[in-house]
Amino acid sequence: MKLKLKIWRQENAAAKGSIQTYSLDGVSPDMSFLEMMDVLNEQLMEQGIDPVAFDHDCREGICGSCSMFINGEAHGPDRLVTTCQLHMRKFKDGDTIHIEPFRAKPFPVIKDLVVDRTAFDRIQHAGGFVSVNTSGNTQDANAIPIEKADADKAFDAATCIGCGACVATCKNASAMLFVSAKVSQYALLPQGQVEATDRVLNMVSQMDEEGFGNCTNTGACEVECPKGISLENIARMNREYLSANVKG
């Protein structure tokens, strides 16, 4: 396959970026999108051009490192996959592919396609945990019976890998899907009840402080989420938040 790649290049956070066009030949349909980027970078280095910086780690769709806004969609045109699991067979020979970083005010560009997603870490630190004494007193996991339906929903919410596709794809750059998944995975379990009120208030407060936008229920996040996190979680977070406000 021969491709024309239009890629956002930005030297550093302070620099003014622009879209650069590169031609790439000999791309196999069996390559992953990141492998295609590796081939491009080798070509660029041979030409003495700075390679394109992009985030990646496990390349198995579970770490949440890779990002990229490909042809106007977070993680590209495929559904329920991250960029590392997107394959070049989804594109055609001669295609022009637009590649941009995930864009949101709270996700500033560090370099090229790499953005700073530590806003998510700060939201997690604000309440995305349960305080458990693990120093030899750990309770058996099965000692507290949990209904299958609740356990399944909690697990579904917990599959969120925090990649930021929801923010990138939302027209408002809202982080509601991410935060609601993190709130829900504990809200559904008895272990999460002790800190439930503080958790939702603190996490939402941190989310707002970071400058993410307001949710307008377009549902775009759910469609583009590589883990299929449901909008049901946002409704649950809203309930949790309202009841936490009432409880004070």
């Binding site: 106007g72 005010k105 027209k171 509601m176 939402v204 307001n214 377009t218 909008l231």
Partner: protein, 219 residues
């Protein structure tokens, strides 16, 4: 007000509650207006009651006007905040790949309805206030039907109303189910609720358009 603007979720809930209130009002407005198609007398009776009842005039009407202004102002404020949250725009953004046009453009449908409201207030509310509180003309319980019919003799006005009702239908088709989601309602009844929302979003504006066209054709 400050509390409402302090949290993204409370802003959502405020939009949802004001939207639901306006939808309830719309239902009541339609229920009265549709009587004009069947009976001049019943329409006049209802209108007269609404026009002179002090609870409607001095409690519900100000609350309604506040609800309308709040919903619009909040809508614009939220949109400005949302644009700021994106920062740099994407060169290529495929919005239609994952969300409907209607859900992404509530501001456009909302602004169209706002423009319509200006016309609608000029047509009915301003003359009504003038009649009752400025010129203080003698109360006539049978004037309402004639005033309504007279407005819809004008073809341009009927067209403008019908176009506005189309945008109202678009706005409601997202707004109805969205308001329940914002308030935390998303469960096994959601598909049923969405269906009711579609019926409401098409039925009410289509009904209003029917009333306007009916009176135009009949007179």
């Amino acid at each position: 007000m400050g509390v409402l603007l302090s949290s993204t979720i409370l802003r959502k809930v405020a939009m949802a509650l004001s939207g639901l209130f306006l939808m309830l009002f719309l239902l009541q407005h339609f229920a009265i207006n549709i009587t004009s198609v069947f009976s001049e007398e019943i329409f006049n009776q209802f209108s007269h009651f609404m026009g002179i009842n002090p609870i409607v005039q001095f409690l519900l009407q100000p609350v309604l006007i506040f609800g309308v202004i709040f919903h619009f102002v909040m809508g614009f404020v939220l949109d400005i905040q949302n644009r700021r949250a994106r920062g740099t725009r994407y060169a290529v953004y495929k919005g239609n790949a994952n969300a409907s046009w209607v859900s992404r453009n509530m501001l456009i449908s909302g602004a169209t309805i706002l423009a319509f409201l200006a016309l609608h207030f000029y047509d009915f509310w301003v003359p009504e206030i003038n009649y009752k509180y400025i010129e203080v003309l003698p109360e006539d319980p049978n004037r309402y039907y004639e005033e309504l019919v007279h407005k819809f003799e004008d073809f341009t006005r009927v067209i403008l109303y019908v176009i506005s009702f189309f945008f109202l239908a678009l706005h409601l088709s997202h707004g109805f189910s969205s308001s329940f989601q914002s308030m935390g309602f998303n469960n096994k009844y959601t598909p049923v609720l969405k269906s009711i929302g579609k019926v409401y979003a098409i039925g009410i504006p289509a009904g209003f358009a029917f009333i306007a066209i009916f009176h135009f054709l009949n007179h």
